[in-house]
């Protein structure tokens, strides 16, 4: 196969306890645009990290052939030297350096440690012309928009004489026009013989520019579709992405659903730093007593922002809209008020936002409701231990004692501590943000059982999850969010992965 620029053969990569990539194959032809698609957690980024040498040779098994030669990259420098350049989802530019400084960062033009500014500027001008960016080389990166920053990244890649360009979600943060420009640029590169791999969730863009598509699912190659010869519909791609059977088990629950206990109307939120950027657009939703309501969507769809803005305005600015509990309007201006009104929010990132890691289990459990174990603001230590012990037994937290620091617990047990904390506040509404992320299957089942029990006790549960099987397995009703709006609502019974994905992609 002479026209292959890249062949990755039988790549297997394991992390402690998890098989991330399972005999993956990927073939990219010279001068094509190759799309890599798959759900969150399908391990697309992992595969690209193996390719670029972020995971060095020896930490995975399998072979990489690039331009007909077998390659064993030990770091990114080695792969870049051969013209493989990866542009990550989160841009890696230094905001307070200029465009030219960023482009040649780590690759400075000059000799003996002295920078040749003349050459730097000249080359930058040329590169900027190639990518069609009309900015001065000396402009600071922080002063240009995200779309233009993306172009700077590409110019940086070009400066390294790129032959295989890898873009991880390049248009995720871009508006329509900027995305359009970027896609045109990729087509332009294709004409010049540069191959690209593009990871994207936006199927309409993929069908527009890709020559072939490889579908990954759960760390395995499912299929490679040739778009040049056959007409491939978006539905066809989605089927490949989600076509897995429910392998995990979800405990059964007899739903006894009551009246609406919590309702959010006309909810609008602006970005916490950029007051001009709206992140939540006119969202309406409600939760009934004893109901588990799912919010599905991709990362960055605004689900966490929605939840946090409701939970005592912990995110965003210029928030507008109304919240009703049991039909009466409530104002949740800060977290304490939210807790007082019986709203609890279990955060997505338990280490950063959920736990005080250097505190013990009991202190974490009681933190959000200290007044329950205190008299005149004086804490009753013995009562606190009792409360923690009770949670430990009910939630089956595996630990040497409730005096153990939470930093040493496993992910599943940490999550149980966070859940205990919020259950101890005696909430009526629990918003759970990715409650099973990074947790093994057994602990997941326990968390699901806890969720079911809470619903059975008459609480309203909002379950935010990127894992579609989890949403389908757990929820009585499902909202789908995309780009800050709710794009669909489905009853649990009528929902399917394909239908949800359609709403996800509908923007």
């Amino acid at each position: 196969m002479e026209d292959m620029i890249l062949e990755m053969i039988d790549i297997t990569k394991t992390f402690p306890g998890v098989k991330a990539l399972n005999h993956v194959n990927l073939q990219v032809q010279k001068g094509e645009i190759h799309a890599l698609v798959g759900e969150n957690g399908a391990r697309k980024s992992t595969l690209m990290k193996v390719l670029s040498g972020v995971y060095p040779h020896g930490t995975y098994t399998g072979e990489i052939h690039y331009k007909g030669k077998r390659c064993e990259f030990k770091n990114i420098k080695e792969s870049e030297k051969l013209g493989i350049v990866i542009i990550h989802q989160e841009l890696a530019l230094i905001p307070y350096l200029s465009i030219e400084e960023n482009i040649f960062l780590g690759n400075e033009q000059g000799k003996h440690g002295l920078i040749d500014w003349h050459a730097t500027t000249m080359r930058t001008k040329k590169l900027l012309a190639t990518v069609g960016l009309k900015e001065l080389p000396s402009t600071l990166v922080t002063n240009i928009g995200v779309g233009k920053q993306q172009l700077v990244e590409i110019a940086k890649a070009l400066s390294k004489e790129v032959e295989l360009l890898i873009l991880d979600e390049p248009t995720a943060a871009l508006n329509e026009d900027d995305s359009d420009n970027l896609l045109k640029l990729l087509l332009e590169f294709k004409n010049q013989g540069i191959s690209s791999i593009i990871i994207s969730h936006k199927l309409n863009e993929i069908s527009r520019i890709a020559d072939s598509i490889t579908v990954l699912r759960d760390g395995a190659t499912i299929e490679t579709l040739d778009v040049r010869n056959d007409h491939i519909t978006e539905d066809r791609i989605i089927k490949g992405m989600v076509g897995r059977e429910l392998t995990e088990l979800y405990p059964k629950r007899d739903a006894a659903i009551g009246d609406i206990i919590f309702e959010v109307k006309n909810w609008n939120v602006y970005h916490h730093l950029h007051s001009g950027r709206k992140v939540i657009h006119n969202v309406n939703f409600h939760v009934k007593q004893g109901e588990v309501v799912g919010i599905a969507g991709l990362m960055g769809a605004g689900r966490t922002e929605l939840a946090m803005s409701i939970f005592g305005r912990s995110y965003g600015q210029k928030i507008s809209g109304n919240i009703y509990k049991n039909g009466l309007e409530v104002h949740l201006k800060n977290v304490s008020q939210a807790i007082e009104h019986g709203v609890a929010y279990v955060t997505e990132d338990r280490k950063q936002y959920g736990l005080i890691l250097n505190n013990d289990i009991k202190r974490n459990i009681t933190l959000a409701n200290l007044k329950n174990i205190a008299k005149h603001s004086v804490i009753d230590d013995n009562k606190e231990i009792l409360v923690a012990e009770k949670s430990r037994q009910q939630m089956n937290i595996k630990c040497s004692s409730v005096l153990q620091n939470t930093v040493n617990l496993s992910g599943g047990n940490q999550q149980k501590v966070v859940l205990s904390k919020w259950i101890f506040t005696e909430p009526d509404i629990l918003i759970l943000d990715e409650p099973t992320r990074g947790i093994d299957v057994g602990a997941k089942f326990e968390i699901y059982s806890i969720i079911n029990k809470l619903a059975k006790d008459g609480k309203g549960i909002v379950l935010i999850s990127s894992e579609l099987p989890e949403i389908l397995g757990m929820c009585d009703r499902i909202y789908v969010m995309s780009e800050g709006s709710i794009t669909g609502e489905l009853a649990g019974a009528e929902a399917s992965q394909e239908r949800i994905m359609k709403y996800v992609m509908s923007k």
Partner: protein, 387 residues
């Protein structure tokens, strides 16, 4: 037995500190040929270090909240100057003079706390500014001169002793009685604590260990009181310190507010999302620091019997060092009041001991620096081993 081992393991830092302090005391007692623990010297030690210990208590809260306060030395000097102007120039009574001074300290803390808590300017910057601002104000207020003397009652705060109401002749009997009372109170607290634990069916340490602990602490208290009684009795400033230590230990370990400070220092975002009003806590921690800095300034001025423009120079560094030597974490969220006190005493005993054996003041700085470095290195080493 297992739980005992576990308890020791969990508290290795605290026990380690006590052991370190005892070793240092014994070392200097031996090399100074018994001068260190002479009654006069022990009394001196307490009086000399009281103002640093007062600062260390406030600084501990600041450090646990993951902040720093560099302005305390300047604030102490400024408040000392103000108190001198009030009491010496304007002949205001001692009690109102002290109250106004403490209020000014609180305001100085509030001023800085406001910028840190609500404007999100790092405490390092705000208090660095405060350090310059209050030093400058001190110089201006005193016009570069010292002011003296203070009223005699005021001096007694730092230099006086409790009266011997039982009129001992060669020994201060009241001091001995206080020692016995303290011992009884301590035993009572330990026993009622144990009783409550038993009522809840919690594990308690075996009786013989408890007995050993009670005997040990009891002997320590009474021996210490005997030392003091052999000179002039309990210094007034020790009473003040004792009240502060008990009060702040209570606040930090038993109250909701104390718990919130630790949560905030351990993980600000998580604390905020658990309903802790983080801004308000930071603000009040700085106000509290301001009040204690003022108190420290008053004690220092009373001891010197003068307000001087250079008072308090370097106090902030001693207080910060005391906290870190005493086991406070540089990452916030960890530290206890007693640790800061012990840390302060370690430095105080070393200062005093080195002076007694004739180490020059220049060399003392170097040795203190090394001790700070080693203490924190030990701390980080044990932590990395634990996890």
């Amino acid at each position: 037995m297992e739980t005992l081992k576990q308890m020791f393991k969990n508290n290795i830092r605290e026990y380690g500190m006590v052991i370190a302090l005892v070793s240092i005391v014994l070392f200097f007692e031996i090399v100074s040929k018994g001068v260190l623990l002479q009654p006069l010297n022990v009394t001196n030690l307490i009086q000399q270090n009281s103002y640093i210990l007062i600062l260390a208590i406030g600084m501990l809260l600041v450090i646990v909240a993951f902040q720093i306060d560099l302005s305390v030395g300047s604030t102490a000097a400024f408040v000392g100057a103000v108190s001198a102007i009030l009491m010496i120039d304007h002949h205001i009574g001692v009690v109102p003079g002290i109250l106004i001074s403490l209020l000014i300290g609180g305001l100085a803390g509030a001023f800085q706390g406001y910028w840190v808590a609500y404007f999100k300017i790092p405490g390092f910057i705000v208090t660095l500014a405060g350090m310059l601002i209050f030093r400058g104000l001190t110089m201006t207020a005193l016009e570069g001169q010292s002011k003296a003397p203070f009223p005699e009652v005021f001096q007694k705060m730092s230099n006086g002793f409790i009266p011997d109401i039982l009129s001992g002749t060669s020994i201060h009997i009241t001091t001995l009685v206080v020692g016995i009372i303290l011992t009884l109170v301590y035993i009572f607290f330990e026993l009622s604590h144990r009783k409550a634990k038993l009522e809840y069916n919690f594990e308690v340490i075996p009786v013989r260990f408890l007995a050993a602990k009670l005997v040990f602490v009891g002997v320590a208290i009474n021996w210490f009181m005997y030392l003091l009684a052999s000179y002039k009795g309990i210094p007034n400033v020790l009473i003040l310190l004792f009240i502060l230590i008990v009060f702040y230990t209570f606040i930090t370990t038993k109250t909701v507010a104390g718990r919130h400070i630790y949560a905030l220092g351990g993980n600000e975002k998580a604390a905020k999302l658990s309903g802790v009003k983080t801004e308000r806590i930071v603000f009040w921690v700085f106000v509290n620091m301001g009040v204690l800095a003022a108190l420290s300034g008053l004690v220092f001025a009373a001891r010197l019997n003068a307000a001087t423009p250079k008072a308090g120079t370097g106090f902030e560094l001693d207080a910060i060092a005391a906290c870190f030597i005493g086991g406070a974490s540089t990452a916030g969220g960890i530290g206890v009041v007693m640790g800061a006190i012990i840390g302060g005493l370690v430095m105080g005993v070393m200062n005093n001991g080195m002076s007694l054996i004739g180490v020059t003041i220049d060399m003392q700085q170097t040795i203190k620096g090394l001790v700070l470095l080693l203490a924190v290195a030990f701390d980080i080493y044990t932590k990395s081993k634990q996890s």
